[in-house]
């Protein structure tokens, strides 16, 4: 009975991530009790809004057994276009601003999706190509200079609290709810899972697999645009390298949260929690004033460590299942 209980916990990657998070908080709390506070949690949620939104979006692509490494560049591009519009007029219309930022993201995702679904380009090649292209377009557009002014009213968007939480955190929560409903309750969301599980099988039962793959890239692009909105408001300056390295972190957090690169498994909540775990590690490094150049070493090491642990657990579970089936057969 107890074994069964442990197996159930191990089977749900999101529960595992929560346990790792609690242990991590506990260990940091031993080192410095000031770390375990509500303020820390809010700070982590606030800092992690961008990464978690991107990793939720990228999950839809990973679930279809594809990959999208262009999200970081797309975030930078959408943020640049959006912020340029904000600065261009005295009275920018919020609707046009949203349209530009989210539209850039969506169109970028559409381009990726068209190439992968209809152009016959494998997703890693397609998005590696567009990663370079989006970044190049960004630098050409700004001429290599940074955008360092954003109107005060839009900066305030991420400084004002609503019901005790900052707005970016609300955006993150609402995205989570919408995507959760989309992936668990709606037909098209289930199509995405089916396509990732077996593209040929999905095609044979009449799922329009090409459209499904296309839509997953559009979702990923849209959420890059959404993250760009928060980026503009939270950071306030848009350097030309905005969002570099974001794609690797987003993929890593989705994988930590149990979204398998083999497609068809994992859920949105796991991706969010994975992103928060990475953000917690980052925040603790800042909190304990670890010299900045250790950051990459420690996050890289922890990332590999977590991947090793979760994968060993999954291998253990698979063997356990096989043993169970064998026992049942013997009986």
């Amino acid at each position: 009975m107890r074994k069964k209980f442990i197996n159930i916990i191990l089977k749900r990657s999101e529960i595992l991530v929560i346990i790792i998070l609690i242990i991590y908080f506990f260990l940091m709390g031993i080192k410095n009790p000031l770390f375990v506070r509500a303020d820390t949690v809010i700070r982590i949620l606030f800092n992690g809004a961008i990464l978690s939104i991107i990793s939720m979006g990228i999950s839809s692509v990973i679930i279809t057994k594809n990959i999208d490494v262009s999200v970081g560049s797309l975030l930078g591009l959408a943020a640049t276009f959006g912020a340029t519009y904000l600065n261009s007029t005295d009275h920018p219309s919020i609707l046009i601003f949203l349209l530009i930022t989210l539209g850039t993201g969506t169109l970028g995702g559409l381009f990726n999706g068209l190439g992968v679904a209809y152009g016959g380009v494998s997703s890693i090649i397609m998005t590696l190509g567009t990663m370079a292209m989006f970044r190049g377009i960004l630098t050409m557009y700004t001429g290599g200079s940074w955008i360092d002014t954003v109107p005060e009213w839009f900066l305030n968007f991420s400084r004002i609290k609503f019901l005790g939480l900052y707005y970016p955190i609300w955006v993150m929560i609402i995205s989570l709810i919408i995507l959760w409903i989309f992936f668990t309750k709606m037909k098209w969301g289930r199509y995405i899972y089916a396509t990732g599980n077996s593209i040929e099988g999905a095609r044979l039962i009449g799922i329009p697999v090409k459209m499904v793959v296309l839509s997953s890239f559009v979702i990923s692009g849209f959420f890059s645009g959404l993250a760009a909105l928060i980026y503009i408001s939270q950071i306030g300056t848009i350097p030309t390298q905005a969002g570099t390295g974001m794609e690797t972190q987003a993929i890593a957090s989705a994988v930590i949260g149990g979204v398998s690169l083999m497609g068809g498994t994992g859920n949105i909540l796991g991706a969010l929690l994975g992103a928060l775990l990475l953000e917690t590690i980052k925040y603790s490094l800042v909190f304990f004033k670890v010299p900045a150049y250790w950051n990459n070493v420690i996050s890289g090491f922890l990332l590999l460590f977590i991947v090793v642990i979760t994968s060993r657990i999954q291998i253990y579970l698979r063997q356990e299942k096989e043993r169970e089936i064998e026992e049942a057969l013997r009986r």
Binding site: V121, G129, M133, G144, L261, Y293, G300, V308
Partner: protein
Amino acid sequence: MKKHYAANYMNEKKRFKNLNIVKRKLFSWQTTLIGLLIVEFVIFGSLNSRFLNIINLMYSVGDFLYIAIAALAMTCIIAAGGIDISIGSIMGLSSIITGFFWVKTSNIILATILGLISGVVAGTLNGILILITQVNPLVITLGSSFLFSGLALTLSGFAGSTGFEGISGFPDSFVYIVNGSIFNIPNPIWILLILTIIFYILLHKTKFGRYLFLIGMNPEAAKYTGIEIKKLTIYNYAISGLGGAIAGILLVSYFTSARSDLGADAPLIVITCAVLGGASIYGGEGSIIGTLLASLLVGYLKYGLQMINITSHQTNVFLGLVLILTISGRYFWDVLSTNYKNKEAVKRFKKT
């Protein structure tokens, strides 16, 4: 009568066979790459006559030597169904380790050997992690690329250069490796030639290479044939690490300074070269000669675009577009040619 038919049939078959060989040679991907290379030279030559200066062309190989070498190693990895994103970080790590030990021991040979060893160790670590986790190599090498680049940055701090500042002051003999020339031909060409031959033999002429293709094509089948997949995978990633280290050290020699972010932008271009050269990202396909041709194509494209005053950002847009269009074009070419072949076969069948 019967005999006549048989003879006729044999003749037909021979004719088709010869035709097929000619066709295969003519329409093979490598021939297409050579064609593209010629087109590129013609276009850039007509835009700027300085481009076709043979001495410039020879010396500009040094610019993309590191990419070509890493791409050769990457071809082996991709052929076996893997991928190594960390190759750029390995370049940075090995270059910093070489610089670090040069500063500490003033013995350049020892420093270079340690730099090469660091690449092999890093690659072996990748291989071991991929084996024990059985996670997609993309994730593992993403994680390890953080680790390696972080280590490089930290080490460069220990060597006395803060942050992204480089370690310099290398001896002339070391700088000569890439910047010198033998028989009036710049060293980069010799290095590239030798490494291409080594990798060609390794991947196309040895058992090891054949097994890599088999692992990439069908790991299950490879397992049942009794191939030691684990050992070969670790060797493969170690070779890739070595390739990254060689590329990194040659970069140090080329720039005469070691920096931790050397090669940070390499993975995209390296994978581009390998895939353009005919390696299938799904494993089981790959060609060293193709990769070499693709590296030349991409390298001279960058060089040519610089010659006609196009900035590197614009070059990136162009490069991404070329990559996507080529791969997509190849896909449609495959679809069309399969359709054509099917139709031909049906026609032939109806005739008999």
